[in-house]
Subunit: 415 residues, 2 copies
């Protein structure tokens, strides 16, 4: 196990051949250490708190199967043929209508583009908006997939610290005054990796700032519908509709293997996004679009969501309880009211990679928080996902992890 | 109908706002006039020879349905979960094994990346290899989707004429001596848009030239398995395995709505292609990968291919016969031994857009060949797809088109 991990921690090899084969941009995409950890974490002998993956027990397998049978029986020829780049219109209508209920947003179906998960949305937005050297503001820490997707287009990244109530508005304002920031990428609800949500006050304050500076906001919201308590807060799309591009996904609320997400953007962006989508892969999987739509048409999504939210809430509660009862008091924890993640902050001197090595030896995996920082910071932080374990596994795993962590911190203090 | 067409023929609007919103690259992606024509062509009152779409009557709907039921029943949790970026290993093993049978190619599964149709392969290859200003050689005419996908990365395009036996080797050699061409994109078997296949001699001659100049060959082969007569010829991947990146797809041989293709490349490319795939959309639709694999495992693909090849051959034969018996002798036709397309060359003075306008009024659609030229040439050419019509529709459509064409040519000669 150790060998794997040491191998992963090494920097990727540099291009050595005399002739330059690869594009400049390739060397700028950070390697996804996270996905490499997920490979280790996927070994059956490992209890994993690493992946931001939904609990497969919550997948509506039977109902999706019925939906698939329905599609093959009644519209097989259509579902298996080429389709338009924008996505299946009834599905876009469904998503548009749902935004009105969940967020009070008035979205037209033609403002929605169906993508291969929201990750593709990020790729298309990068293509559309970013020239080399354009300036992008991120939360610190930030979602690694976004950094990867946007890096391809060689922007210059800026970061402002994420606080308990959202990104630090003062830092944001300073950065915006000093730099022409083109795009701000954020996950304001149950953020990945921290689980933090922006407060109402912070949202309004930031909206004012971004409005003044005319910054495009890319608001990624894959977890918004997985809320355990509290009220839905206005999104940036509510506060600054013209300036905000919103990303959504079925991955967390239905299933990720079906790879369907969407981008919501005003017409001026959408026309060009569709051209970029054509170039990227013509259109999203049409069979999956038809299956998801048939599922949504024949089932009540809210009933499904109630069920999975209860499940995830139980898992969050159990993990928080186990941590509270067993982890050293030196470790700080976020208490998210939704989503899939908790965030641990160990004492300053700690190095989560060292903890991970010991944890993997005990058959436990998680993601060192440093992975989500671009400036090498966050070495003493850890992302734990409470989404993918059942009760027994979680108990075993967290108790083992508490031993590893508590011993590590004790040794650290003795040094 | 006329309004639609005139609207389409207009150039897209330029960005007029004071502030530059979009990336430089966006303005360089050619608008897909083809996909716009396909929108007209998809209207039920239109008989379309425009789309390069497979005949939906040939989709193995029942067997794919059984495959889907099988996947939901036995591996629903796995199929609906996140998966690896490379693609489902058993599917990659199947593809690798098939290359040995069909092309005598020894491909390792780890040299295969599953993509959202081969179109995404082009996007990833562009990302991987092309910096702004890098030089790319294309066939003239060339597949528009490739031009679109690669344009995003702002290369400089070069073209050499496509002859009856492949791209003009003399022109290629001159271009390669005068320019450091990084990448050559070609469809050597039953090319889109012309239906032309490279002769054995031409393949060997070109392989020598590309070997000498160390040009990367991107060989796109979506139609190779739809051969009606004649022997499979060695691909560039056979002739120059290290230098060739090969693209394949299930779109034409099984169904496009399922959006699965693949890239075959040596490890040095593959490692970085996988990172680019992660950034682009994490991984291809896993449910579809499992369904296709289950279909392939439980059915004999060759039996399916025999059936669809017979069908397409009949369609090609009928279209050729109708053209031969009805079209003006002034019109030259390619006679492809596979694939989906015929290519018409009208007298020099003719303008296929003018023909299209009249044809649409008669309820017939096709793609003006000019669409596939980057230098505005080919105004007197037409791509006809024989793939998507049944016998009766084809007869009606080709007879109507012959009236439009013959009248047009007669008037042209009177002018």
């Amino acid at each position: 196990m150790k060998t794997d991990l040491y191998h992963l921690l090494k920097e990727p090899e540099e291009e050595t051949s005399e002739e330059k084969i690869f594009s400049e941009r390739v060397s700028q995409i950070p390697r996804s250490f996270l996905r490499e950890i997920l490979k280790i974490a996927s070994k059956p002998e490992i209890i994993s708190f690493a992946g931001g993956v939904p609990n497969p027990d919550f997948f509506p397998i039977e109902k999706l199967k019925e939906a698939a049978i329905d599609v093959f029986a009644y519209s097989g020829k259509e579902a298996l043929q080429y389709s338009n780049s924008e996505g299946y219109l009834p599905l876009r209508e469904y998503i548009a209508a749902r935004y009105k209920i969940t967020n009070g947003l008035i979205i037209k179906p033609e403002e929605i583009l169906i993508t291969n998960g929201s990750q593709q949305g990020l790729d298309l937005i990068g293509k559309l908006l970013l020239d080399k050297g354009d300036k992008v503001l991120l939360e610190k820490p930030s979602y690694l997939g976004a950094i990867q997707a946007l890096s391809v287009f060689q922007p210059e990244f800026f970061n402002a610290d994420l606080r308990e109530d959202g990104i630090d508005a003062e830092q944001v304002e300073t950065i915006l005054w000093e730099n022409k920031i083109k795009l701000f990428y954020a996950v304001p609800d149950f953020q990945n990796p921290t689980g933090i949500s922006y407060s109402l006050e912070r949202r309004k304050e930031l909206a004012e700032i971004f409005k003044y500076h005319n910054t495009i906001i890319v608001e990624d919201n894959p977890y918004g519908e997985i809320r355990f308590e509290g009220k839905v807060l206005p999104s940036f799309k509510n506060l600054l509709p013209d300036q905000t591009i919103l990303l959504g996904s079925f991955s967390k609320i239905i299933a990720p293997g079906i790879r369907l997400g969407w981008v919501v953007a005003k017409k001026k962006y959408m026309d060009k996004l569709i051209i970029a989508k054509q170039g990227a892969d013509l259109h999203s999987n049409f069979l999956s679009q038809k299956i998801i739509y048939s599922f949504l048409k024949n089932n009540n999504l809210d009933n499904h969501l109630t069920r999975i939210k209860e499940g995830y809430k139980k898992q969050r509660d159990l993990m928080l309880e186990l941590i509270e009862n067993n982890f050293s008091k030196e470790i700080k924890i976020t208490k998210p009211s939704g989503g899939l993640f908790l965030w641990l902050t160990l004492p300053e001197k700690a190095d989560a990679y060292e903890v991970l090595e010991k944890a993997v030896e005990e058959g436990i995996a998680f993601v060192p928080g440093n992975t989500f920082f671009q400036d090498g910071k966050g070495k003493n932080t850890i992302r734990l996902s409470f989404s993918s374990c059942n009760e027994t596994t979680m108990k075993t795993g967290i108790l083992k992890l508490s031993n590893v962590l508590n011993n590590y911190i004790q040794n650290l203090q003795l040094k």
